[in-house]
């Protein structure tokens, strides 16, 4: 866990660069702008929450609280993030683009995986499910980041192409 905190500043720099590139390319506020800021804040919150809970991993008196707090905390924050972005976009009459839809769907999937693992470990606790959980979370995080940065590069390139034709 101690290795996660040194990673955070680099990740934040990348997300800020991504946000800056997007804002300067589209020059207006879109649903995707809110998604970038939301992902940045959610990652920040998750790392802090992970660090906090891991400090109680070896405390048997709090094992139940830590167990439920881990899965429910991540799942509920994922669902809350999706609901918040969807609510903001609805109120601001902003249309969700394809990248935003993909990212929000992946966060819903992450939340479902958290809830599934919470129940599965209590009832079955199989090795297959353990492997699925430990692999799927980082892979989905990667897909989210890849979609986010990929969409920014795509909009940047199409904007450059448009400028060339003008």
């Amino acid at each position: 866990m101690t290795a996660v905190f040194p990673q955070l500043p680099i990740a934040i720099v990348f997300y800020f660069v991504a946000l800056l590139l997007h804002v300067l390319t589209v020059r207006r506020l879109t649903a995707f702008s809110f998604v970038i800021v939301g992902v940045l804040l959610l990652d920040f919150l998750h790392v802090g929450y992970e660090f906090f809970l891991k400090s109680y991993f070896h405390d048997p008196a709090l094992s139940t609280l830590v167990y439920y707090g881990w899965y429910l905390g991540f799942a509920l924050s994922d669902f809350a993030f999706v609901a918040l972005i969807a609510g903001i976009c609805k109120n601001a009459h902003l249309k969700l683009d394809i990248a935003s839809k993909v990212i929000l769907s992946l966060y819903v999937l992450l939340g479902v995986i958290q809830l599934f693992s919470l129940v599965e470990r209590l009832i079955v606790s199989s090795k297959v499910a353990f492997y699925f959980y430990t692999q799927s979370i980082p892979i989905l995080n990667f897909v989210i980041a890849f979609t986010l940065f990929g969409f920014i590069v795509t909009t940047l390139l199409s904007s450059l192409r448009q400028q060339k034709t003008v």
Partner: protein, 71 residues
């Protein structure tokens, strides 16, 4: 605008390649496929695998309370 975009793209690529050499391989709470991928491209893992507990799992709740154990 075009000039700015070029500078921004070059800066991002520079930052990426610079960080790859500077970033040590960090330990994650994951095994197998993800671990191998992270050892091959540490920077990608650095900026993408932070959320949702990074795939780590908490210990299962202890069915016996600590007070019961003492007895």
């Amino acid at each position: 605008m075009k000039k700015f975009a070029k500078i921004a793209v070059v800066s991002v690529i520079g930052l990426l390649s610079g960080s790859i050499s500077a970033q040590p391989v960090t330990s994650q709470g994951t095994t197998a496929f993800v671990d191998e991928a992270c050892s091959l491209a540490p920077l990608i893992c650095t900026i993408t695998t932070l959320g949702n507990g990074s795939g780590d799992t908490p210990p299962l709740p202890d069915p016996k309370k600590p007070k019961d154990k003492e007895k």
